[in-house]
Symmetry: C2
Amino acid sequence: MEAALKAMSDPTRRKILQLVQNEEMPAGAIASNFPVSRPAISQHLAVLKSAGLIDERRSGVKRLYRTRVAGMAELKVFLEMFWDVRLERLKAAVEADIKKEESCDDDVQN
Amino acid sequence: MEAALKAMSDPTRRKILQLVQNEEMPAGAIASNFPVSRPAISQHLAVLKSAGLIDERRSGVKRLYRTRVAGMAELKVFLEMFWDVRLERLKAAVEADIKKEESCDDDVQN
DNA sequence: TATATCTGTAAGTTTACACTTACGTAAGGA
DNA sequence: TCCTTACGTAAGTGTAAACTTACAGATATA
């Protein structure tokens, strides 16, 4: 999660994410969209991959990249919890109640 | 926007944002929550302020900080556009149509 | 097998950044 | 006025990170 946010903070990596959001794309094709060298993009891809934001698939000599929806979703959830700490506190309070009561439903409203 | 994302990518700054989200807090009180030196926190506060994520208000010798809701909202909107580029592309297509048609309504559905 | 293609990795450089200590500054109290 | 409080700012340091060129590895193709 920490890694995902850090990965997103770089503009080149954000542009990469947008490039491969709707279609698989080989590393070379991705790199051709940027003014920097191909190895630089390869390193960015490694960062994005280790952050869980893209998937890599090998097809012959090529490596195809695509945004990892699950990773983006996790980040989205994390940030949405962040937007309103009050909501988080409410959730924590509810979870504390759960502990005591040993029964629950987990819909939380603001 | 770039600055806001970069500011959010640091864990200390994220914790600061959470600390001052619901209440104004003087710099010293903020700093007391962290293991690093007070000037370090002061620098983090400057980063957050120039990113538009916090407001500063002076009260006597103290400086009170608080999360800037508008800044957080802008960041949230930016990221929500980012989550689904298809939605963005659809919006762009609609706007292109508007240009041609010279009339519109701007509700976009997925 | 030899070779071209597509790519990651290594090594080195430069810049950015998080941090430290030392100092400057403005407001309030004795 | 003198001193304390509550800060920001300056200067310097160590580490991370984004980039470069050079090289290595794996796959297809002749």
